[in-house]
Subunit: 397 residues, 2 copies
C-alpha cells in the first residue's frame, strides 16, 4: 500500500472517530482546505442572518432605542463574559472593543502604573508580532520607562527589581511555538512584576487558564480561532484583584461610572468595563457575539486534543510524503510547545504558497521563507490534512 | 386661520420647494419623525445588501483573499477620501478607524509632540462632550503637560507662549452652539499652537473647511450626520504639511511603512495612513462606505441651507404653538452660531421626551433638563418639523 493510500485510510478513520466533526456544519465552507483560520476564521453559518437583523431591524427600525432594547450598550462586557470560559476566566473580567494594538496599549500602561513606581523597565517578547513591540515602545516612552526586548526563554534571567511589566505572546505567530504561560507568569509575579499576555494565537485554540495561572492582564483578537470576522474587536482581561487599580490611558466616556452623567471629572466604572473607551462598534460586536455561539457545548480541552492530533497527523504526512530536507519544520515537536499551527520553512515558500492556494489549499506565507498552516479544530478534518500534505508534496517537487 | 393650519400649509410649500426632498428615499424610514440623527443616523437603504455581501461573499467565500481582492486593506484611507470633501479636505489627509475617543488621543498627543517643546499647556473646551476632556487629561498626563479647561470664548485670552495645543468642539453637543472655527483656528495658530477640532456634531451637517481654515488636526464620528451605523469608526484628519511629523502614540503595525515586513523597528508610513493602528474593522468600515454613497451629488452648502431653514422653522413653530416661557431655547438664534440641532430647556424634559417618543417624535433627553432635537437635512422635511412642534405643544400642556 502506498504512503498516500495508507494515510488517506487513516485520515478517514480519524474523521470517523472525531467527536468534533459535526461542528463543521456550523460554518460556511466549500471544498477548499482552509488552513488560514489563524489569520481569519471562517464564517459561522448563523452570522449572516444575525447581522442582517442587527442592520435591518435593530438599526433600521428601532434605531436609537436599540441601545437599551437590543442590548447594544452592554455588549462589550456581555460578549466578554462569553469569551471568558474559553480562556479560563470567571465572568466580569473581560471587555470587548477596540483593536488588539489599542488593548496592548491600555494593558501595558495600566500594568506599569500598577507596578511599584521604582520599577522602570518593561520587558517585551523579542519574537512577538511586531505591533506589540511598537506599542510597548510607545507605552514605555509615554510612562518614562525603558523597554528591553528579550526572548521568552530569557525572561527568567532578565527579571529584576527594575522590571515593572512583561509583555509576552502565548503562541509565536510565525513559528507556532507555545510558550509556558504558567511558569513564566509565576516567575514574573514572583519577582514583583506584572505579566501581560497576548493571546491572539491561543484564544479558541487551546486552554489558557488565565485565572488559574495568575495572569495579571491579557489581550487577544477575536478574528482568528474565535471566528469573529475581519478586524472584529479585540478583548481585554483585567484580573479581578487589579480592577480597582486599573488606571486606563484611554479613559473614554464609556468607562465612566456614570456615562450619561456627562460630568467634567472622570470617575472610572467598577470592574472590567473600566477597560472600555468610546462608543462600541455594534455591527462588529454583534457579529462576534453570534460567532461565539458555535462554541455552545464545545470543550476547549477537546479542541486542544483534536488540534494536537491534526498537527501531529500533518507532520506525519509531510514527513512521509516529502523528500527529506525539502522543508524544515519551525514548530516544536513537543506538544507542550506547540500551538495550533505548523510553520514549514523552504526557500521558495512564497511561490509554493501561491501554487497551493491555486490548488485549493489555503495557508499563508510569512516573509521571507515560511509556509504557515493553521488548524482550526472546529472545522478542519483529518482528510483535509492529508489532502493538504499531498498537494504540498506535489508543489514541492 | 389657526396657527397650526397656517404653519402646516407653509410646511407643505417648503417641502415642495425643497431640492433635497428626494434624498429621503435613500434611507429606510417609517412614519416616525426622527430628530435623533445627531445621535444615530438613520439606515441608508443601500447598506443592508452591501453588508450582506461583505459577510456572505467577501468573508464567507473569499475569506482571506478579500484583504486584497475586496479592498479591505486600503479601506481606512479610501473611506477617508470619501469623507474628505464633506469636511473640506483634499484627498490623502483622512483615515477612518477606531473610536472618536481613541482618535482624540492620537491627535492630541501628536499635536503636543509637534509643538515647540517649551510649550507645556494644553487647552481644552470646558463645554465639550466629556470624553474629550477625559482623554485630554490623559494625553496631558502622559506627555507631562498641564491641562486647562476654558470656554471657546475664552480661548483667545487664554492662549500664550505656554500653549502647545487646543482641543475644541465645532458644535456643542448639548446646546447646538456652533463655534467660530476659522477665527479660533487663526488665533490659535497665530500664537504658535496647534488647533485640534472635534467635528462629531458638524461633519455632514455643515461646511467645515478644514484645508481652507488651516486646521491642524481634526477628529469626528461617522454615526451621526454621516449615518455610518451604531458605533461606526471615527475619522482622523492630519493636515498634509504635518504628516511627516505626525508621531502617533498608537504606532500599530497598520501604520508601518512596510506592514508585512514584520520588522522589529517601527518606521511610520507616509501620509495620513500614519494614523492607522491595528487591523481595520471591516464590517463596520464597509457599512460606512456604503452609507457615504447617499452623499453622491449632494452639496454640503445645500445641506447647510436646508438645515438652517429646518431649525428656523422649528423655532418659529415652537414659538407660535407654545406658551411663552414654557421652554427656553439654548441654541443661538444667529445662524453663524447654530449647528444642526435645537436644544430646549424645561424642568420636566425627561418626562416630556418620553411622551414625545411614545407619540412618534424621536429626539433625546440630556440630563438634567434638556430636550435635544437634531435635524438631518438628508431625510427630515418641513412637515416633519411642524408635526414635531405640534406634538411638543400637546405634551407641554
Amino acid at each position: 500500500m502506498s504512503e498516500t493510500t495508507l494515510r488517506a485510510e487513516k485520515a478517514g478513520k480519524l474523521d470517523e472517530a472525531d467527536e468534533l466533526a459535526a461542528l463543521r456544519e456550523r460554518f460556511v465552507l466549500d471544498d477548499v482546505v482552509y488552513l488560514d483560520g489563524n489569520s481569519l476564521g471562517a464564517l459561522p453559518a448563523n452570522v449572516p442572518d444575525r447581522v442582517a437583523d442587527v442592520v435591518r431591524r435593530q438599526w433600521g427600525e428601532l434605531r436609537i432605542r436599540s441601545w437599551d432594547e437590543s442590548g447594544w450598550w452592554t455588549a462589550p462586557e456581555r460578549i466578554g463574559d462569553r469569551i471568558a470560559p474559553l480562556v479560563g476566566a470567571a465572568p466580569g473580567q473581560i471587555v470587548v472593543g477596540d483593536s488588539t494594538s489599542v488593548n496592548v496599549f491600555k494593558a501595558l500602561v495600566a500594568a506599569v502604573r500598577m507596578a511599584d513606581g521604582s520599577r522602570d523597565e518593561i520587558l517585551v517578547d523579542a519574537t512577538t508580532f511586531p505591533t506589540d513591540g511598537y506599542i510597548a515602545e510607545s507605552a514605555a516612552r509615554l510612562t518614562g520607562r525603558t523597554l528591553r526586548a528579550v526572548t521568552p526563554a530569557e525572561v527568567p534571567q532578565a527579571l529584576g527589581e527594575r522590571t515593572a511589566a512583561v509583555l509576552l505572546n502565548h503562541v509565536d505567530y510565525r513559528t507556532g511555538r507555545l510558550h509556558d504561560l504558567p511558569a513564566l507568569t509565576a516567575a514574573i509575579r514572583a519577582r514583583g512584576a506584572l505579566a501581560v499576555w497576548d493571546l491572539c494565537h491561543s484564544a479558541g485554540a487551546l486552554p489558557v487558564g488565565l485565572d488559574e495561572h495568575g495572569v495579571d492582564l491579557a489581550v487577544g483578537c477575536t478574528y482568528k480561532y474565535l471566528n469573529g470576522g475581519p478586524g472584529s474587536p479585540a478583548f481585554l482581561y483585567v484580573r479581578r484583584e487589579h480592577q480597582d487599580r486599573f488606571d486606563s490611558p484611554l479613559p473614554g466616556w464609556n468607562s465612566h461610572a456614570e456615562p450619561f452623567g456627562m460630568t467634567p471629572a472622570y470617575t472610572p466604572a467598577p470592574g472590567a468595563l473600566r477597560g472600555r473607551v468610546g462608543t462600541p462598534d455594534i455591527l462588529s460586536l454583534l457579529a462576534l457575539e453570534a460567532a461565539l455561539e458555535v462554541w455552545d457545548g464545545v470543550s476547549v480541552d477537546a479542541v486542544r486534543a483534536k488540534s494536537l492530533a491534526l498537527t501531529d497527523f500533518f507532520l506525519e504526512c509531510v514527513e512521509a510524503y516529502t523528500e527529506p530536507g525539502r522543508v524544515e519544520c519551525l514548530t516544536p515537536a513537543r506538544h507542550e510547545e506547540r500551538g495550533s499551527q505548523i510553520a514549514l520553512r523552504c526557500p521558495d515558500a512564497g511561490e509554493v504558497m501561491k501554487r497551493l492556494i491555486a490548488r485549493g489549499v489555503v495557508g499563508d506565507f510569512r516573509s521571507p521563507d515560511v509556509l504557515r498552516f493553521g488548524f482550526t479544530p472546529l472545522y478542519v478534518g483529518f482528510r483535509d490534512v492529508e489532502r493538504a500534505a499531498r498537494i504540498l508534496r506535489d508543489e514541492l517537487l
